[in-house]
């Protein structure tokens, strides 16, 4: 409010500088900016008819007559004009490209739209079809496995690395607790897959998992083991491959996230634990983990949603006949022109991710520890 009321006030003119400045500070002290607080040199403003105020919306403040400018209603108007100018464009963007497609998706999931001009309302038919569709359940099984396993694997790795980076080293730089050597290098190494495009990640790992010329089977070959066809037919192997790639590409984000959370814990708490004779593991489970639990829970929800939304990696890397996640199944329906059906799958995915978030919030709810 303090600054809000002063929007649009002109720079003080030369002749009445002092009185204006006095008025300004008065205004800012008195947050309502009431007329009683005005300086003495100002004539009491006569109230304007409301209608005359409105054209002022279109005028820049410099051209607005003083009488109008000092009217309290103009202040409100001016504020909303600012909001309109500054916030309307981003909001319009949101409405057009994020909110509206989303609402449309919900509507079209109840229709049989297939690209033509007509979209008939067919009630819950799409959802019924999905319920009876074995392919959908197959894909959902894969997605559900990813939803359960990926966050655990990624978060455990992320927390471990973060702990090593922030508190793994002892007696470096004269401090009781410090990161291991080269911790910033590790952070960048882990984080880097985050800035790669998913399609490149998928393509590179597709080569790494390649049966004949891949890096992994090459290594197994050297060790005298016949490498399996990772992405060639077996569902479990393909799932392991998928899990590896997702964890590889997301773990860096969580390393950074958890390092920041651990860095926010006051050093003396760790030092106290150290003085009491706690080792690394004891310190971690007794002190660090409880203190960053809130962040871990947030990360768990994020990672779950990302796992459920695995799309490009599966589409590009894993052949469709081997294994499919639900978003890939959705995309195939989309490609076939079954738009109504595709959106209903999208809606189900969205409901699932919201449900997952709520469950994790409930399950992971602990008393917050303030420090």
């Amino acid at each position: 409010m303090k600054t809000g009321t002063r929007v649009g006030e002109p720079p003080p003119s030369n002749n009445s500088k002092n009185s204006k400045n006095a008025q300004k500070s008065d205004d800012s002290r008195n947050s309502t900016g009431s007329e009683a607080a005005r300086g003495e040199g100002e004539p009491p403003p006569t109230p304007l008819p409301g209608l005359l105020l409105w054209p002022a919306v279109l005028l820049p403040p410099g051209l607005t007559p003083k009488r109008v400018r000092y009217d309290r209603r103009y202040r409100t108007l001016d504020k909303y004009r600012f909001i309109l100018g500054f916030l309307a464009v981003p909001l319009a963007f949101y409405a057009l490209f994020v909110v509206s497609p989303f609402l449309q998706a919900i509507y079209y999931s109840f229709t049989d739209w297939s690209g033509g001009p007509v979209a008939n309302f067919i009630g819950f038919d799409n959802y019924r079809k999905m319920w009876d569709d074995a392919r959908f359940w197959d894909s959902l099984q894969v997605s559900a496995l990813l939803l359960v396993i990926t966050p655990v694997v990624t978060l455990v790795l992320g927390i471990f690395f973060a702990y090593m980076i922030t508190a793994g080293g002892r007696h470096r730089r004269g401090q009781a607790i410090a990161g291991v050597a080269g911790s910033s290098f590790y952070k960048v190494v882990y984080f880097f897959p985050q800035v790669l495009s998913v399609s490149i990640v998928a393509v590179v790992w597709g080569r790494v998992f390649n049966t004949n010329s891949g890096l992994i089977n090459g290594g197994l070959d050297k060790a005298g083991i016949e490498g399996p066809a990772w992405l060639g037919g077996d569902e479990t192997l393909a799932l392991i491959a998928l899990l590896t790639v997702i964890s590889w590409s997301f773990v860096g984000f969580y390393v950074v996230l958890f390092s920041a959370a651990m860095g926010a814990i006051p050093k003396d708490i760790h030092e106290a634990a150290l003085l009491d004779g706690a080792g690394r593991a004891r310190t971690f489970f007794g002190v660090t983990l409880p203190l960053i639990w809130d962040t871990v829970r947030t990360g768990w929800i994020y990672m779950g949603i990302q796992a459920l939304d695995t799309f490009a990696i599966c589409l590009v890397m894993v052949p469709a006949h081997v294994l499919k996640v639900t978003p890939v199944f959705l995309y195939e329906r989309f490609r076939d022109g079954q738009y109504g059906y595709a959106t209903s799958i999208g809606v189900v995915l969205l409901v699932l991710s919201v449900a997952f978030s709520l469950i994790v919030m409930r399950v992971g709810n602990r008393d917050r520890i303030e420090y």
Binding site: T3, G4, P11, P12, N21, F86, L87, V89, F93, Y94, F97, V98, V99, S100, P101, Q104, W113, G115, F161, M164, G169, R170, H171, A181, G182, V189, F191, V195, S197, V198, S199, I200, V203, V204, W205, R207, V208, S213, L215, G218, D221, W248, V256, L257, A260, A261, A264, T295, I305, L308, F311, L315, L330, Y331, Y339, T343, G346, L349, L350, S353
Partner: protein, 296 residues
């Protein structure tokens, strides 16, 4: 990872009693095992990049070899890939889309962030919440809705379509990080400038903006990188191979009967280079910026 326990005692000067204690634990077998595991993990993390660069330099004849290093290096792959495929056009599309989206995001998000940081208006919390919540929307859920919108506008295959969607998707993060940055600049600086005779707008341009520059740079580069890497919308909103962004063009290679890995990875390396360069600039800011909202 845990290398320090083995390495650090030797070069460290001073604090003799600590040195002795550290040496005692230095050669414990457990430490060695942990160190070995740590290096192995780091190798696993780096291996795909090496594989990509090496394959990009492999001559065609050696593609099916199981040797880790090719006998000859074929630098011409980096040139031939543009002749042999449509990737040149794809690169052009990606450049336009990433550049356009970044510009648009900057123009739209800066005023909004400035306003949100400086003013307390009704619905401010709601606005910030909206920004966060929409971040959580999955692109696959929006896919059909967006497709329908652009289908009706007859804008499929257009560069503008991708610019607009990318800008809309990145707006949230830009507004969020810029708001945080501008809020951290004391408003008294602006007030001082205004007392000295600048207009509010002038104060914003001449005082706040230069101070918020690191945040602006972060938002800009981040938007550029995400738009550069965007895949799902590029895949669904474009159908003609020549009008698709580079990421989609690269993934199209995989569907072919025989995958030309050398060209594929040469193109991937080219697609990654701008990202590496830009990321090097903002690494510190992104890392702190990403965590600004999530850690108290």
């Amino acid at each position: 990872m845990a290398t320090t326990t083995t390495k650090s005692p030797a070069p460290e000067k001073g604090s003799a009693p600590q040195k002795g204690r550290a040496r005692k634990r230095a050669f414990r077998p457990r430490t060695l095992v942990i160190t070995a595991c740590a290096w192995l993990l780091a190798a696993v993390f780096l291996a795909p990049y090496l594989e990509m660069i090496i394959t990009a330099l492999r001559p065609k004849e050696e593609l099916r070899d199981r040797t880790y290093l090719p006998r000859n290096l074929e630098w011409a792959n980096f040139i031939d890939v543009w002749k042999e495929s449509e990737l040149g056009q794809n690169l052009q599309v990606t450049l336009l889309v990433a550049g356009g989206a970044t510009l648009l995001v900057l123009l739209v998000s800066l005023p909004a962030a400035y306003y949100t940081a400086r003013m307390r208006y009704r619905g401010r919390k709601l606005f910030l919440l909206l920004v966060l919540v929409t971040q959580m929307f999955q692109p696959t859920a929006l896919l059909v809705g967006l497709y329908r919108e652009f289908h009706q506008l007859d804008m499929l295959n257009s560069v503008w379509t991708l610019i607009l969607t990318n800008a809309a998707f990145n707006l949230a993060f830009a507004v969020w990080i810029l708001t945080a940055y501008i809020s951290s600049i004391p408003p008294e600086l602006e007030e001082a400038a205004m007392v000295d005779g600048t207009s509010r707008f002038g104060a914003m341009i001449k005082v706040t903006l230069p101070l918020a520059l690191p945040g602006v740079v972060t938002a800009v580069i981040f938007t550029f990188i995400t738009s550069w890497n965007e895949f799902v919308m590029g895949l669904t909103l474009t159908t003609e191979p020549a009008k698709q962004p580079l990421t989609v063009g690269i993934s199209n290679f995989i569907g072919n009967y025989t995958v030309q890995w050398n060209y594929l990875f040469a193109a991937s390396v080219v697609a990654i280079i701008p990202v590496i360069v830009l990321f090097a600039f903002i690494e510190r800011h992104v890392v702190s910026g990403l965590t600004a909202g999530s850690v108290k």
